[in-house]
Symmetry: C2
Subunit: 345 residues, 2 copies
């Protein structure tokens, strides 16, 4: 159910406004502030502690961590703004025009690890780059439940789709499968969770750079995705702003629904085990983590996304006809969550 | 205190014997058997459970795991023998002569995670590759203590040095700093533990391919390392055999010394935290892990090295004048453990 975009057209590179960096940097700080405030209200007990830091090569950031909240065992919300003489090779391979140029990057990222296994983990990251002749926005948001509730996935995706649709009906049908592809653990043949939206290298010219296709994706949506319609810098800026502000309405109602559900050792052990996949994804595949480690970022801030307690178990398989098995069979595969009905189960 | 080897000479590629693959494969199986038997005797309670597996692209292996032993919370010893149409890019970059050729690889690897935080974690891996015109041995063994006992590090290194010296007095002075460089977490500016020996791409022609230099290394040994004297295939085979057989005498006495030491939550929490570094190293840097994941290896066997329970803690720093601080200040930096005396503390 992909909407194929119109025929790609050669478009002139659209320049960002003169105050682009300052505007995006301010937006990223605001998003951090608004998200932290919203999460503190939601949790009711935990508060964020801030560490401000500077980077020797240029720039710095504000890392904020909540620990031992009523809901959140650990949550981190980072803002950073860095610059330097050259981008790392992993990015230059995708953006060769940036070679030999200085770069600027700013972004906000967040990972929440709730204590109750019925409350899903959630991740958000939005970022902006400038390097010589090129600039782009990237990021997204995705949900990682431990226990399968289709209504949670549907609420999350419907909220994101509405945000996307307000800017372009092209977006959700492209950024939803892109998210499934990005948060795919190839070595496990599993998606990290139920996804959300993801995009990278959005410079208004509509190019797409997508990842490996997850198992089972072809059954759910077409793999044929064209380019997107050209967009101006301001249009993309407004879109990213709204994406950041969609986080609380997409996530908070799910937390309210699940936070008081009772659980025992079985659910806790499964949660700790599944958290291992989060570690595997972040250390093996995640572009933000690799960018940070390659650019001498602040290690504690980059790895703040890792869960406070994690289990690995050799050869684990869920028992058949259990909620754990349902997670694997249905929720860790691509699904059209917006159109989901109970008949799909 | 590096012995600089003689001037490099152009030497002819020394061919392996016709039965090279069969001989190394048999050695790797024997090492797995001997190590598992020795560890079961040492533990006294835990036994290894074996999974035999096959790889669709060619080859297979035997994974053996011990869980909930008296000493070992989890231990894995793998044997594998795989072949395929081409090596992954990460290896071809180091060995371009192997491009366009089929490959064969066999090896044994082991990681032990003891429950008692006073007993160190240990890792061993020896491997052999053939690909068209090239062949090589690689591997090593290294010790990761959680609490600082200089006598353990000295015993471990002295045993390895004696094994090396029996083959060539060139080996230990080269393979010891190579290990420090290989098991170095650049993003933490820490070594993984007290090291041991490591080498890679040993094809008898004496080339070295070394990693980033850890902080503080220059104070301990020279960074000037020449090439090694040429060696025949049989000499390297005999050396690797003896390295494999040095594991039990290098490690078992340390376990016997520490296994009954009493510990509490503080020591356990520190152990779980430090285990996080093991995860970071294996997923971000380890060649064996990356090779396995890139070649569609058996994920459960590759990631068997990950600890059963792990903690991350944002911004952790050990208190001054504690054993935990001593680990960081002295044991996670390069040291000449063989010559260590109490005056060095």
């Amino acid at each position: 159910m992909i909407t194929t975009a119109s025929t790609p057209q050669a478009t002139q590179s659209k320049l960002p406004p003169a105050d682009a960096k300052a505007r995006v940097s301010q937006l990223m700080r605001q998003l951090q502030d608004e998200i932290c405030q919203g999460l503190q209200q939601l949790d009711g007990v935990g508060t964020f502690q801030e560490d401000a830091w500077e980077r020797a090569e240029g720039g710095g950031g504000r890392s904020r961590v909540m620990r031992d909240g009523a809901i959140f065992e650990q949550g981190g919300v980072n803002f950073s703004e860095v610059w330097g003489s050259h981008l790392p090779p992993s990015i230059l391979a995708q953006r060769p025009e940036a070679s030999g140029h200085k770069f600027y990057a700013t972004g906000t990222s967040m990972v929440l690890h709730p204590r109750n296994p019925y409350v899903p983990t959630v991740h958000l990251n939005y970022r902006y780059f400038e390097a010589g002749p090129v600039w782009w926005f990237g990021g997204g948001i995705d949900l990682t439940p431990y226990y399968p509730f289709a209504s949670d996935a549907t609420h999350f995706h419907s909220t994101l789709k509405a945000t996307c649709d307000a800017h372009s009906t092209e977006y959700y049908p492209v950024f939803k499968p892109w998210c499934d592809e990005y948060f795919y653990l190839k070595h496990r043949q599993e998606m990290r969770g139920v996804g959300g939206i993801f995009f990278d290298y959005q410079d208004g010219q509509g190019q797409l750079y997508r990842g490996p296709h997850p198992e089972g994706a072809a059954a759910v949506y077409s793999t044929q995705v064209g380019t997107l319609e050209p967009r101006s810098w301001s249009e993309l800026f407004a879109f990213v702003s709204d994406c950041g502000r969609a986080f609380l309405p997409a996530y908070a109602p799910i937390v309210e629904q699940r936070r008081f559900m009772e659980y025992g050792d079985r659910e806790r052990n499964f949660q700790l085990y599944r958290r291992g996949r989060y570690v595997e994804f972040n250390l093996v595949y995640d572009r933000g983590t690799i960018f940070g480690l390659q650019t001498n970022g602040r290690t504690e801030s980059i790895l703040m996304s890792l869960p406070p307690l994690v289990r690995w178990e050799y050869g684990y398989k869920p028992e058949t006809d259990t909620p754990e098995a349902e997670l694997y069979e249905t929720f860790l595969k691509p699904q059209d969550w917006v159109r989901w009905t109970s008949a799909d189960m």
